[in-house]
């Protein structure tokens, strides 16, 4: 449960079991038994992530469920834009001079764009206001840039991290052991058994032969 969610507030992800969920929004301070101002039902899939956004002016607020990506292409970062500025009807967002989204309408969401990782300059511009900031995008990370009004005449960009992975995936497993506690079978014993048996046979055979030869010689004397 989130309390007193003001314009531009973003909560961290909440982990829930997969299944059907109803998201309800009530006025701040309203009892949980009262009829919600807004509610929406959606299905949460296993391993997936979602952003639930209350978008629109207070008079026409609606709940929007946005599926979030949780995997990025190898060596790249993913970025998308949520246009949350009510004072700038359409906003263009550029990343290091390249259009991330052009003339995005209020409450709309751009698709994810794969970009080369690094510290990049973001510029958001509406008809009467604009702003610039930098964002650091690492490989394997997924970001949402939210364009918001910081005042009636000023824009701001909030950088949200949707998901993050390792910058470089190590190859294979980790060699984290030297075997000092592992059970270990003994060296093979069969050759030694064979040698012992062969040796014994030779010794017995040799001994028998030697003693048998000696006896007739004694008798002959």
């Amino acid at each position: 449960m989130l309390h007193h969610v003001a314009y531009g507030t973003v909560s961290p992800y909440e982990q829930v079991p997969a299944g059907e969920y109803t998201v309800a929004m009530r006025g701040a301070g309203a009892a949980p038994t009262t009829k919600p101002v807004l509610s929406t039902t959606f299905n949460v899939a296993r391993g997936a992530a979602y952003t639930v956004a209350g978008v629109g002016p207070n008079s026409g607020l609606r709940l929007q469920v946005i599926p979030d990506r949780v995997t990025a292409p190898k060596g790249r970062a993913l970025v998308r834009v949520i246009q949350g500025s009510m004072h700038q009807e359409r906003v263009t967002v550029r990343l290091n001079g390249k259009d991330l989204t052009s003339r995005l309408a209020f409450s709309h969401i751009s698709g994810y764009v794969a970009v080369r990782p690094g510290t990049l300059r973001v510029r958001a511009a509406g008809a009467t206001a604009s702003c610039t900031r930098t964002v650091t995008l690492t490989a394997g990370s997924i970001h949402t840039l939210v364009v918001l009004d910081t005042s009636a005449t000023a824009l701001g960009v909030t950088d949200l991290m949707d998901a993050q992975g390792s910058k470089v995936d190590p190859v294979g497993g980790a060699q984290t052991g030297f075997g000092g506690t592992a059970p270990r079978p003994g060296a093979p014993v069969l050759p030694w058994v064979a040698a012992a048996v062969a040796g014994l046979l030779a010794a017995v055979g040799g001994g028998l032969l030697a003693s048998r030869r000696r006896r007739p010689a004694l008798h002959a004397r």
Binding site: V10, P12, P170, V171, A174, T176, G206
Partner: protein, 226 residues
């Protein structure tokens, strides 16, 4: 009186073979004894090199570390201090964390000694969104290492990471799995994750004497406590 001759040919003579055969028989006796002795010695030595697994006895409990618990990171990107120590009271782990990179072949570097664990610097910092990776040895050539009892961790048990800022990131175990290294789950371990998670890695399974490596990895998955 005459001894009857086996040949039945009458007349007694010493076979030329007998002269040679006697020393040969004695030699066979001696060599046989030597070979049999060597065989028995080898057998005794071979059966002594076998060794049972070191028992995973109950860990001496480590105390829960003191300090301010780090909050669940806000969705807004904010710097989290790097990890410096790891505590897992349930299995008696208390160690500093070294920094791990990649080897020349692109594999995960492992701690230089078996008594400390290490954080992979290419992974998110523990407490940041995403799966932070910490690896430690199960054993040295002589005995247990820092993660010897890792496989004994159970669902719900807590793992603490001290950040350089002094704060503690507190995680709860969500799963303990074992994988053959030949089928290492790269995506699940190093791929993006939406919330702050932790993966603890060590070795397990069969030890391959020929390569000097274990064939499996044990991985503990944990999520930041909110």
């Amino acid at each position: 009186m005459r001894q009857p001759d086996n040949s039945g040919r009458g007349g007694r003579h010493i076979s030329p073979y007998r002269v040679i055969r006697r020393p040969a028989a004695v030699a066979a006796l001696l060599i046989g004894l030597v070979v049999a002795g060597a065989g028995l010695t080898g057998l005794a030595l071979a059966s002594q090199t076998g060794r049972p697994a070191t028992p995973v006895s109950q860990a001496s409990l480590a105390p829960i570390p003191q300090g301010k618990w780090a909050a669940v990171p806000p969705a807004r990107v904010r710097a989290v201090a790097r990890p410096v120590r790891l505590f897992i009271p349930a299995i008696g782990v208390r160690t500093r964390l070294v920094r791990l990179g990649l080897t020349a072949t692109g594999a995960l570097q492992v701690p230089p000694t078996t008594s400390v664990a290490g954080w992979y610097t290419g992974s998110p910092r523990p407490g940041e969104p995403g799966g932070a990776v910490i690896a430690g040895h199960i054993d040295s050539v002589a005995g247990p290492g820092v993660f010897f009892r890792l496989r004994l961790l159970r669902h719900g048990e807590r793992v603490f990471v001290r950040q350089a800022s002094g704060r503690l990131a507190v995680f709860r175990v969500t799963g303990v799995r074992s994988y053959l290294k030949s089928r290492f789950p790269t995506r699940a371990v190093y791929g993006p994750a939406p919330n702050a998670q932790l993966r603890l890695i060590t070795c397990g399974g069969t030890f391959d004497v020929a390569t000097g490596h274990y064939l499996s990895n044990t991985i503990v998955y944990a999520s930041l406590v909110s």
